[in-house]
């Protein structure tokens, strides 16, 4: 490859086929020999199924439910936990829970039959919010307290430090649901090919699907082949959720002996899919006479929904990130995954980190404002550095370049001048946030659970194929990974083949999640390419394999969550400037400036695109993306009532980076796909609260809420609640 630096942008390998529309997404396949299907779901948030009236089915139409799971099979989806049922049996825990799959050859007849299905329930009182879950409204349905999962961490000694505090203040910060709105809705097709169950599916993690659904038929995952189709966005929403489609499809194909396909409409997808966990973080902070933080306690509550599924891992990441980019002398966090009768919450870009990072950034702003200090100056006192102790009593392994990044954004945004110029409540405001994201799986996940493997194969024609399970979902990995191989081998990019994964052909390199693909699998490819290089000209056709090796001396205790949670963090600083209409509360974003540390960038244009998209998604989450669950039903069901950013909503961003090569990443690269989401919401809310002069402690904050704050909100300078 004729570029000197791996960062130099190249054209994405999949760009032109996506422009012409010839890239084949799952709904673009014919699957003519397969039956259509409709999912039958619970229409109530909580209750007992009393009776199901199935209409008389014409020949060739099938009703598939839990009774069709063969003897020895288990009615669950093995995500991380195994509690999420494939089909509801006697009770339902949330609106949209899968009860059955109706299959048949004609879409219209299927639609008619679907409307004739009648389900009688004995309805029970649902618990919908975190507080309702904690109060066991309607009676506990998980354990005896509705707590799915729990953890506790401490650095130093918070209680002793509180005794020395001049005053202790408390504050609660809340965040709401967020819907992924990947432009391509969920879809999958299962067929029998050569006596194996073969799935074509829009998904992030093909190997996850095999593992999750094989127990349904009590078969080995090898009996199932998953072929990822071009995936039209995912953002975490296609990490575990495709299992919810593929499980019932597998049981249906097993029963019917014929292929079955399932595609969600947008409304169906929005009403009946996983969302970002709503959160509530309660801080208790002890200050000395001079307003310095002596100790901070945080209680982190995540609304996990009806089943645990992946929520404990999300909660862990939340608790590991709740101290933000800061090191406090005494700090504790305690996390609770709360069971409610809402659709189970699951992965969404950031995986639990954005909620707590928003919380700590916002709390830090409020601690500063109540003392009449500029939030930036206050936050600066606590920036963590290399060697600093993390919330899990590990250390930060790398250089922390926050000062350099801060200098960049101060310069580009003219922050200091604007802070002086825009008085609190003047209608103009500028805000700033600091954030990080631990790259790859937490703790020992990579070495103990994932154990990623990757292969490179050289063919006699000189072409090289990458064999691994990573998927392209828009983030650019189909270009990033071949670029790494091509650069090491010094061959043209076009000579590197990297097909969408087919689980029967590639080794399991772990999920495409947790900002781990470039950092971990990219490194495996770099290592494999280096091994291949030595033999490249001598041998015509050969294969090399590499597997993950954890650097020694960075241990993790998974039982007590102690040690090195992450070896490499991405870091970010974001500044947002807004103007608020004093009559309508309408907010105009005037500027967005950011700087990120993603190590050494593999492709500056791809990374730039990730920053742009992540930052806007983060501001959307904090502002217009209102997803309410009223009595167990999502209120927003379409793209006309769930408002995601359009091209008119935000100005072009000013994007900067710092160079900070990561010693265990390919060419020095670190993970960054989630990082870029993690901080823009807090910067936006900081700017907005300064502009209106009111304290904002919950998101989303759409125009109508801005109005409410303007009319009845607490003054930004008011003291937080003093509890001692």
């Amino acid at each position: 490859m004729d570029i000197n630096d791996i960062s130099t942008a190249v054209r994405r390998v999949d760009a032109l086929e996506k422009c012409s529309g010839t890239a084949k997404y799952v709904s673009d396949y014919d699957f003519n020999d397969c039956l259509w299907s409709k999912m039958i779901r619970s229409s109530i948030p909580r209750g007992i199924i009393k009776n199901i009236r199935i209409p008389t089915l014409p020949d060739g139409y099938f009703w598939v439910d839990y009774k069709d799971i063969p003897k020895g099979g288990k009615n669950y989806l093995h995500m991380i936990a195994t509690d999420w049922k494939c089909f509801a049996e006697h009770d339902v825990r949330y609106t949209g829970e899968t009860i059955a799959l109706l299959c048949g050859p004609d879409k219209k007849i299927l639609e008619d039959l679907y409307k004739q299905v009648e389900i009688e329930y004995e309805e029970l009182e649902p618990a919908v919010t975190i507080d309702e879950g904690l109060n066991c409204k309607g009676g506990a349905f998980v354990n005896d307290n509705n707590i799915h999962c729990h953890l506790k961490l401490q650095v130093g000694d918070v209680d002793s430090a509180f005794k020395k505090a001049d005053r202790i203040v408390t504050e609660t910060i809340e965040t709401g649901f967020q819907e992924h709105v990947y432009l391509e809705t969920n879809g999958a097709c299962c067929k029998i090919e050569n006596n194996k169950y073969v799935f074509y599916v829009s998904a992030q993690c093909p190997f996850y699907i095999r593992k999750s659904i094989a127990p349904l038929l009590n078969i080995s995952p090898d009996e199932i082949i998953v072929k990822q189709t071009v995936t039209g966005g995912a953002f975490g929403g296609k990490e575990h959720f495709p299992d919810v489609l593929c499980g019932p499809l597998l049981v249906a194909v097993h029963k019917i002996g014929k292929g079955v396909k399932l595609f969600f409409t947008r409304e169906e997808d929005m009403e009946n899919s996983v969302k970002r966990h709503p959160s509530k973080v309660v801080f208790k902070t002890g200050l000395d006479k001079n307003g310095n933080i002596l100790a901070m306690e945080s209680k982190v509550y995540y609304n996990a929904g009806g089943y645990l599924s992946s929520s404990f891992v999300v909660l862990q990441r939340g608790c590991f990130h709740v101290s933000g980019c800061y090191e406090f002398p005494n700090f504790s966090s305690e996390g609770f995954g709360v069971a409610t009768n809402t659709f189970p919450s699951c992965a969404f870009r950031g995986f639990g980190a954005p909620q707590t990072l928003f919380a700590i950034e916002t709390h830090m702003c409020h601690l500063a404002e109540m003392q009449g200090l500029d939030p930036l100056e206050f936050k600066k006192r606590y920036f963590i550095k290399k060697g600093g102790i993390t919330s899990t009593n590990g250390k930060v392994v790398e250089d922390v370049k926050i000062p350099e990044m801060l200098n960049q954004v101060l310069k580009t945004s003219d922050y200091k001048r604007k802070v002086k110029q825009y008085a609190l409540g003047s209608g103009k405001g500028i805000g700033i946030s600091f954030y990080n994201h631990g790259g790859a799986f937490t703790g020992n996940g990579e070495q103990a659970i994932i154990k990623a493997k990757c292969k490179l194969k050289k063919y006699s024609n000189g072409k090289v194929e990458i064999l691994c399970g990573q998927t392209e979902m828009g983030q650019g990995f189909k270009t990033i990974l071949p670029k790494i191989a091509a650069k090491v081998l010094n061959i043209p990019l076009i000579d590197v083949i990297y097909n969408n994964p087919d689980t029967s052909k590639v080794p399991d390199s772990g999920p495409t999640a947790a900002s781990r693909s470039t950092m971990i699998v990219g490194k495996l490819v770099e290592k494999a390419a280096l091994l291949m290089k030595e033999r490249f000209n001598k041998e015509k056709e050969f294969e090399v394999e590499t597997s993950y090796e954890h650097p020694e001396g960075y241990d993790w205790d998974q039982e007590n969550f102690q040690g090195y949670a992450y070896l490499g963090y991405g870091w970010g600083v974001c500044v947002v400037e807004v103007e608020v209409d004093p009559c309508t509360g309408e907010v105009t974003t005037k500027g967005i400036w950011s700087s990120h540390d993603a190590g050494h960038l593999i492709d500056e244009k791809i990374v730039h695109g990730q920053v742009n998209g992540g930052v806007i998604q983060g501001i959307g989450w904090a502002s217009t993306e209102v997803m309410e669950n009223i009595n167990g039903y999502f209120k927003q069901k379409s793209m006309s009532d769930y408002i995601i950013p359009t091209s008119m909503d935000y100005p072009s961003q000013y994007v900067d980076f710092v160079e900070n090569p990561y010693k265990w990443g390919p060419f020095g690269a670190k993970g960054m796909g989630e990082l870029v989401f993690n901080g823009s919401g807090a910067a936006y809310i900081d700017a907005l609260s300064r502009a209106i002069g009111k304290r904002i402690s919950s998101i989303p904050c759409p125009t109508e809420k801005v109005m409410e704050y303007m009319l009845n909100g607490k003054d930004i300078k008011d003291s937080l609640n003093i509890c001692r």
Binding site: K18, G232, G474, G614, S640, T646, S647
Partner: protein
Amino acid sequence: MIKDIDFILNGKKVTIKVNPLSRLLDVLRDNLNCKDVKEGCSEGECGACSVLLDDRIVTSCLIPIGAVQNHEIKTSNYVTSTEKGKIIAEAFADGGAVQCGFCIPGMIIAAYDLLSRNSNPTEEEIRLGISGNICRCTGYDLIVSSIRLAVERGGDIWKK
């Protein structure tokens, strides 16, 4: 009710027997195999199903096929094979406009429609021009700059 509908699709005359109330989107995808037209929201909000109707952008999920009788439809696969469309696609590819790609066929149609009406749009005008097309990946910046790149590369071609 089944009727013969005649129209020009991507430069070729087609006749199709179909219920005239069928959505243009379904007829294009299911009857005429134009899989380049994507279904995103089914209610005219996201623009993924955009096509050109007599060279103006429409969302094909909202148009009954009967309304297309004797009119001309162009989809992104065809548009990107034309001289102007190629310039847009190449600029999108070089400018980093494409991520997951699901909105892109519609976005190409929006860019084409815009540049046919305005040969030298400002950033504001570009943002307005693509405002009916939702993208969840890019935050729009690189789409906007890619359209500028197409303007610069095409030069006078946009005045034709």
